[in-house]
Each structure stands twice: as structure tokens, then as C-alpha cells.
Amino acid sequence: MSKRYSNEHEWAILDGGIASIGLSAYAVEQLGDITFVELPEIGAEANKDDSIAFIESVKAASDIYTPVGGEVVESNEKLEDTPELLNEAAETTWIFKLKVSDSSEFETLMDEAAYKAYLDTL
């Protein structure tokens, strides 16, 4: 099970056709204290790079783009009352899960080393 990153700073872990999506530690650090997460609806269909969730912090409000397309099968409801979980553990707190429609999209994402190199260019 490998972890991949998008250049919008979302991460994805693919496991048996289901991708878990979260935000990178770098993104969360940039956002500051997170105050609200709007989760996608279960059953919603999304294409790669669609904005399907939304996040608010004390500093900004931003869209979350799904790095792979598919059907939303789960949303992390814990984030409704405790959005600060993302500040505590960004890299292990998934926001939603998708049944991936095309796993080759996952393959096009950056691996950890490539993402680290990408961050160095920012």
C-alpha cells in the first residue's frame, strides 16, 4: 500500500480499489488551526481534481480537490465535531474514501520522494 500526493497537497492511499484521501502535513501547516470541514455526500460521483470537500481555518477557506475520480463511499464524520484532528495528525487522518473508477489516475500521482522534492521547489 503506497501513499501518493497531488500538487494540490492532497494525499491518497489505495487499498483494494478504495482510496482514502487526506491533506498533507505541509498543507495543514499552511492553513493553521482548522475550524471546519465540509464533507462530501456519500454516493456522490467525482472526477479527478473536482472540488468535493471544503475546509476552513483561522486563516483561510479552501476547496479540497479529489486526486482520483470515483464514488464517495465514506466521509470521516469525526471531523464534523473535531476538525482539529487534522492539525494533530494530518498524514494519518483521512477525510473521505472513494471507490476508484480508474486506478491509473493513482499511478500518475507523486510518490513520497517526488512530493518532498516538489515541496522544496515551493
Binding site: 455526500e41 471544503f54 476552513e56 483561510a60 477557506a61
Partner: protein, 444 residues
């Protein structure tokens, strides 16, 4: 505030500073053919001439008529303290403050406004006001569609003020949603048809209680049916009625809308007024407009701030809840002072007086054989009468006798040629009501 124009010197200095010859150069990017050749303005008047001009216009007002007009705007007593306090220079601006937190007094007043509106409506959250009752309804419909995600249908009861329905349809014309108008059955909601329409494609149902004809109904069965399919109940009302009727919170409505004119604001040819929009707390992130919150500053002192601003367009851009970034500050302030002066008990008494006087008028008019009361439901402070003569003839004859007798419903509804909406408030005395009834008897 005095008008302080720039002198020629000022203008020249400014032009020199930014490197232009004169101010006309600022308009160079507008093609010549698009510029106005002249503005066809008359010569200016002196201050004295302006006063004389307005005095002569004002003298044409007829303030002698006793009004029984309602239908959304009502002739209520406004305590003098409302004018005295709201025109203090610290408060007296029609505008919402743009450097908001620098105006702590204004924010505190709006915070109190929000608290009072929540108490009045039984809702958990409200904004700092909308433009009027109609735009509040339109924004409520948009909220329902956002909350309902894929649901694009809104049902609006034709018992809602027809002017609000027009505003709603104008506002929503370019949104991807369908407005279904549910025609009233006599003077109330057509429950059978409505219950048949409610399914999981409906985002919300908008009703007004008391409705435009003044009729009060129990909507609890409908609200339950809406909630069974996860559709929202949007209740509009005349806020004074909340003094004795069940609040939006008590009937479990999801969003409340109303027009605030009756809370300490003058009739003034239909405005200015303000809109009330309140909701359950779980929908607060879908609520448009400014919201004032309370916090501590770094010295631990109480401070008022604009809060949850990520809903608004200066942060959320095209995904903002609405393009409203202002409020009807002065009108909402007047309502706050009005409500504070009355208090909870005073407000209930005010509502009771409106109801009782209307019931008295209804009883007196019922004694006249030629007059029929159209409403089958109980009413609050207005009701519809059916006349043996045309409504326009009736209104004209009553005006000769010194009354604005009511609203001609044929101007807003089909097949209402002989019907007039009559309203009373606490301002109408028993003598005025008796005299009104006597004149009606004479005319019909």
C-alpha cells in the same frame, strides 16, 4: 455631514501627483461615443430655495386619513425613544460598518439584535439582517437548495405575500431550480395537494403564517411530512404575530423569514425596512450575510467581531453563500431599540391588542348583512371582506369619509374583484373602529 468639495488647487495637486494634466484624463479609457454629452441638469438651487421646494411638496401630503391598510406593511406606534436613540451620531448611518471591529458599539447593538430575533423566532441562529421580507425568503430558498444538495425544487404557498413571491422568482430566475407555486384553497393551504407534492426531490416548502389573507393555520402535520423526506420547512411571518402565536422554533421550522418594518420602522411609502432571516444552528454555515459574534480580546475583555466570514464573498469568492455583504443596519438598530423598549411582556400585550382590535372590527362588520367575512380560518390582525359592490367603489367612498379602508385584492389576485383586505393595529381606537364600521354600513 457637510459636503466638502475639493478646491481647484486640491484637484491640481492630485493630478500633478499622479502625472495627469486634468481629471478628464482619468476617463480616457472610455470611448468618446460612450460618454454622456450633457447631463441635462437644471441650475442649482440655494439652500433656502430647496427648503421652500420641499415644504411645498410636503404640504401636499394628506395625513388626515385613518388607515386600515395592511398586507405586509402596518401602521404601528413607534415610541419616541426609537427616533431619539437611533439618530444619535454614533449610530446614525444607514450603512453597515466596513472596518467592522472598529465600531464596537454598532456591533454590540447588532449582537443584541441577533439575540432578540432568536428569542422572538425560537431559532438558534440569525444574521445581522437582510434587505426586506422578500429577499429574506429568496435567500432562504437558496439555503434550502444548498442544504438539499441535489434537490432543486422549492414549493411556495400562494398564501405568502405575492410581492415576496415576485421577489423570490426574480432572485431565482437564473439559478438552476424550480419554483412550484401551490395555490391556496379559499384562504388557507391546500393540504391535500401539498402532501401529494412532498417527496425527496423537494428542497423546501415556504409558507406564511398568518398568511397574506390574515389566516392562521396549524402547519405541524405538514412540517412533519417535510422532515420525513428531509425537506426543509421555511416559515415566513409578520413578526408582531410571534407575540402570541407559536414561534418558528416551537413548530420545528428550519428557517424563519420576515419583514422588520413593523418593529419600529416607519411606513414611508414602503420602506426602508429590513429582512429577518434565522435558522437552526446546524444550518448556520449556509446562512448568508453578516453575523456578529462575541469573543475576548488579548487583554481578556469582551469584544464583538464579525464571525464565520468564510461564508462570504470576500473570502469564499464564487462559492459564497450570497452576494449580500451588507445589512440594513439602521433599520435593524431601530428594531433592537423597539424590542428593548417593549420587553417580552410588552411585546405579548402589543400582539394581543392587535388581535383583539381586529376581532372587534370583524365582529362589528359581521353584523352588517351585506358584508361576508371571507376567511374560514382564525385570523390575527387582518382579514378579507367580501362586498356587494366593487372593491374600487368601496375604497373610493370610504376615502371620502376619511379612511384608507384596505387593500384591493384584485390588484394582486384573480377573481377577487369584490374583496378587500382590512387590517387593524394597536393604533386604531375603539371610536375609529366604530366609525369605520358605521361608514361601511352606510356605503353597502
Amino acid at each position: 455631514m457637510p459636503y466638502t468639495p475639493h478646491t481647484k488647487d486640491d484637484v491640481q495637486k492630485m493630478c500633478a501627483q499622479i502625472g495627469i494634466k486634468d481629471e478628464t484624463e482619468l476617463f480616457d479609457s472610455i470611448p468618446n461615443e460612450l460618454r454622456a454629452k450633457s447631463f441635462d441638469l437644471e441650475e442649482g438651487l440655494s439652500e433656502f430655495e430647496v427648503f421652500e421646494n420641499f415644504k411645498s411638496l410636503a404640504s401636499q401630503n394628506d395625513t388626515s386619513k385613518v388607515s386600515f391598510l395592511g398586507g405586509g406593511y402596518y401602521d404601528h406606534i413607534i415610541p419616541t425613544a426609537v427616533d431619539a436613540l437611533s439618530t444619535r451620531s454614533e449610530f446614525y448611518t444607514a450603512y453597515t460598518p466596513y472596518q467592522a471591529e472598529a465600531s464596537q458599539g454598532t456591533l454590540q447593538a447588532l449582537y443584541e439584535y441577533q439575540t432578540m430575533i432568536c428569542n422572538l423566532t425560537g431559532m438558534e441562529a440569525t444574521n445581522a439582517s437582510m434587505y426586506d421580507g422578500g429577499t429574506a425568503i429568496a435567500e432562504a430558498a437558496l439555503m434550502a437548495v444548498r442544504i438539499g444538495k441535489k434537490r432543486k425544487k422549492i414549493i411556495v404557498d400562494s398564501g405568502v405575500n405575492p410581492i415576496y413571491i415576485k421577489i423570490l422568482k426574480t432572485y431565482l430566475a437564473y439559478h438552476e431550480l424550480v419554483v412550484i407555486t401551490l395555490e391556496v384553497k379559499n384562504d388557507g393551504s391546500d393540504r391535500e395537494t401539498l402532501l401529494g407534492l412532498i417527496d425527496d426531490s423537494i428542497a423546501g416548502y415556504i409558507f406564511q403564517n398568518p398568511n397574506f389573507f390574515g389566516s392562521i393555520e396549524d402547519y405541524s402535520e405538514i412540517i412533519k411530512a417535510l422532515h420525513d423526506v428531509k425537506a426543509l420547512a421555511i416559515m415566513s411571518s409578520y413578526p408582531i404575530a410571534l407575540g402570541i402565536l407559536k414561534s418558528a422554533g416551537e413548530v420545528d421550522a428550519d428557517i424563519y423569514c420576515g419583514d422588520g418594518q413593523s418593529l419600529g420602522n416607519y411606513l414611508g411609502f414602503g420602506g426602508p425596512s429590513f429582512g429577518i432571516l434565522a435558522c437552526k444552528e446546524k444550518y448556520i454555515r449556509n446562512l448568508p450575510g453578516r453575523i456578529v459574534g462575541i469573543t475576548d480580546d488579548r487583554e481578556g475583555k469582551r469584544a464583538y467581531v464579525l464571525t464565520l466570514q468564510a461564508r462570504e464573498q470576500h473570502i469564499r469568492r464564487d462559492k459564497a453563500t450570497s452576494n449580500i455583504c451588507s445589512n440594513q443596519n439602521l433599520m435593524a438598530l431601530r428594531a433592537t431599540i423597539f424590542l428593548a423598549l417593549l420587553g417580552k411582556e410588552g411585546f405579548e400585550k402589543l400582539a394581543l391588542q392587535n388581535y383583539n382590535k381586529s376581532e372587534y372590527l370583524k365582529a362589528e362588520l359581521s353584523k352588517i348583512d351585506a358584508i361576508k367575512i371571507y376567511n374560514q380560518n382564525p385570523t390575527f390582525n387582518e382579514f378579507v371582506i367580501s362586498l356587494p359592490i366593487s372593491a374600487s367603489e368601496f375604497i373610493d367612498k370610504m376615502e371620502e369619509k376619511g379612511f384608507f379602508a384596505g387593500l384591493r385584492l384584485e390588484t394582486l389576485f384573480e377573481n377577487f374583484e369584490n374583496r378587500v383586505l382590512v387590517s387593524t393595529t394597536e393604533k386604531r381606537t375603539k371610536a375609529q373602529i366604530d366609525s369605520f364600521a358605521a361608514c361601511v354600513k352606510e356605503i353597502v
